[in-house]
Amino acid sequence: MFDRFRAPWSDRRAERVLGALASLVLVIIALMVIFVAIKAWPTLRHNSVVGWFGFGDEVDVQIANQVNGTSGTGGDAFKLNAGPLIYATILTTALAVVIGLAFALFSAIFIVEFAPPRLRRIIVPVVRLLAAVPSVIYGLIGILVLAPFVNDHVISDSRKRSVEYVVQLSGTSLLVATVILTVMITPIMIAIVTDALYSVPKGWKEGAVALGVNRWRAMWTVSIRAARPAIIAAAVLATARALGEGIMLSMVSGGRGFSPNPLDGITVLFEPLRPLAATIVENVESLNAPAVRSSVYAFALLLLFSSLMLSLGGYLAKQPMKKYGIRV
């Protein structure tokens, strides 16, 4: 019965089969978005958009009420102000991507342009390996090593006392979450940017150097310029990973629906928080309650929508670069 697959395929048949597969993927994604949106609808309907995205009563208390069915009846059962969770997601993701991108750019320039060949031969495979490390391992290191260290040696007792009437500082914090998240997403960015810089035509680099520009400037003005589409792609991919990271962040972020307050100065770094994905992970046990289920679907919808916007944003950002012949 497999004979018809073994025989050489005509292009026409290959086109139809591949087209069907690609369409299937699109259909599945569309169905998933629609399904999640329908499931998320109750919580979005009962809290106004401003209310749902905004800040209000403590979000952890609201979720606990949803779990226990103690938040009231009717629309009140769904009461949720997810602001702190959204804020936490934006904060950790943005910090990690910005720091990671800067780090990735400089590392990639070093690897491509300045590293001695012997070091390069070691560093490139190591970076690729790091990019493939499961995030839960980073989470484990964060919760077993970094968080206790921060708790014992970085946060002073007086600092703990200064905010104890609002929040308890225990090591798992914005700082640890950001550091671990940065470590997690940087290798993939280094790998992508390095590949992009390698593929910049040698003639451009040589041309710039021959004009009396040093290698650093040539890299910056010609190679990085030409590699901008890849840099954007790397940032988009890393942002998507950071947005969707649940397990690791639930381990190291402190697991409290708290909004770290920048007005606290340095202390803000040590305050706990909990991004959306981590919130989903932490509520898998209580999905029997319909209100919680709807809330969690709403978080998922928001994450889905963000990655969609992210891809679109990346695509739009690349368009102007096409004009001068940079390959996208």
């Binding site: 040589e206 710039a208 150097v209 040093n214 001068y324």
Partner: protein, 333 residues
């Protein structure tokens, strides 16, 4: 504090009229000795009356030259007064790992003339050329021995960026950056200033460079066009404009026409003859006719040795070394 006025290359821009009026051949006299040689190649030239005053305008050359190895400058060789020496190579050797690519070469490169490096593939021409602006240093395995002087200063004593600003280079493959035409020419001008000069400051220099590279009339209407949309020949002239925009003293050309069609090659060759008035030009070429057309002096290299160096007529017409004779003869015979 360095202001950008200090940084901007102090150049007196020639007016358009100067460029038009300049007569490349007027100041040159035919070499009585070499001009009398009757080498087989020269016969084509000798059939024509020797012209001294005829300006070597690109149009006439384009019409009259055809495919024959006619000297581009109407048979008028630059041999009367050699220009001042700009670069001098003493016992220059270049090694890749332990393999010698260039073996103890002595050469001098003079202002106002074109030195053509010829020889079979792998003979070290390009390596020699890339040593002159220390571009070989980008290759980790390359090592150099001997002295190269630019205006009597050892190039090792110069800041490498300074050297490369004074000794510019055009590559085999046209390599305009993925930017607009304007930004390509402005690139070096901007990079050489501490403070990024504004477009208004740079525009006249860009105009001048494009004018001298013979590209201005073709691109003046849309300088914002992507450089990579130009034709191959235009791209190469853009690269020449980019290289000469900062007024270097020496221009190195590594087979600048090998990726171009004959028509573009012709345009670039006349450009070379035009440019040599205020530059010393070293050109590497596989094309012997081209070496003859544009070269004032020709250096023949073989397996890393400089076999023969002399005026173009002499090297092509009466080569001294047997190896040169074989190579040149093979080309024209």
């Amino acid at each position: 504090m360095r202001t950008h006025d200090d940084e901007m290359p102090k150049v007196k821009l020639p007016s358009l009229q100067d460029v038009m009026d300049a007569d490349p051949a007027g100041s040159r006299v035919p070499d009585p000795v070499h001009g009398a040689l009757p080498p087989p190649v020269r016969r084509i030239v000798l059939d024509q009356p020797p012209t001294v005053a005829t300006p070597a305008a690109p149009q006439t050359r384009a019409a009259g030259a055809g495919a024959a190895p006619t000297p581009g400058h109407g048979g008028v060789r630059h041999a009367g007064e050699p220009g001042p020496e700009r670069m001098r190579l003493d016992a220059l050797s270049v090694f890749y790992d332990d393999k010698a690519a260039v073996k103890s070469v002595d050469l001098s490169i003079r202002q106002g003339e074109v030195l053509a490096l010829i020889g079979p593939s792998g003979c070290g021409k390009t390596t020699l050329l890339r040593t002159l602006n220390r571009l070989t240093e980008l290759t980790a395995s390359a090592r150099r021995e001997g002295r190269i002087a630019l205006d009597d200063t050892d190039i090792d004593e110069l800041e490498v960026t300074t050297l490369r600003r004074r000794v510019a280079m055009v590559f085999q493959q046209p390599n305009p950056f993925p930017m607009s035409i304007f930004d390509n020419v402005a690139y070096a001008l901007r990079e050489q200033s501490m403070k990024r000069p504004g477009k208004a400051v740079i525009a006249p220099h860009v105009h001048d460079a494009l004018q001298r590279a013979g590209l201005w009339d073709e691109v003046k209407d849309d300088l914002d066009r992507p450089a990579l949309r130009l034709s191959g020949g235009q791209q190469q002239r853009l690269c020449i404009a980019r290289a000469i925009a900062t007024r270097p003293e020496v221009l190195l050309m590594d087979e600048p026409c090998s990726a171009l069609d004959p028509k573009s090659t012709e345009v670039i060759e006349s450009l070379i003859l035009e440019l040599r008035k205020d530059l010393a030009i070293v050109i590497v070429t596989h094309n012997l006719q081209q070496a003859y057309r544009v070269g004032d002096h020709v250096a023949f290299m073989y397996l890393g040795d400089l076999v023969e160096y002399g005026a173009a007529e002499q090297v092509f017409g009466a080569p001294r070394a047997q190896r040169t004779r074989d190579y040149v003869g093979g080309a024209f015979g």
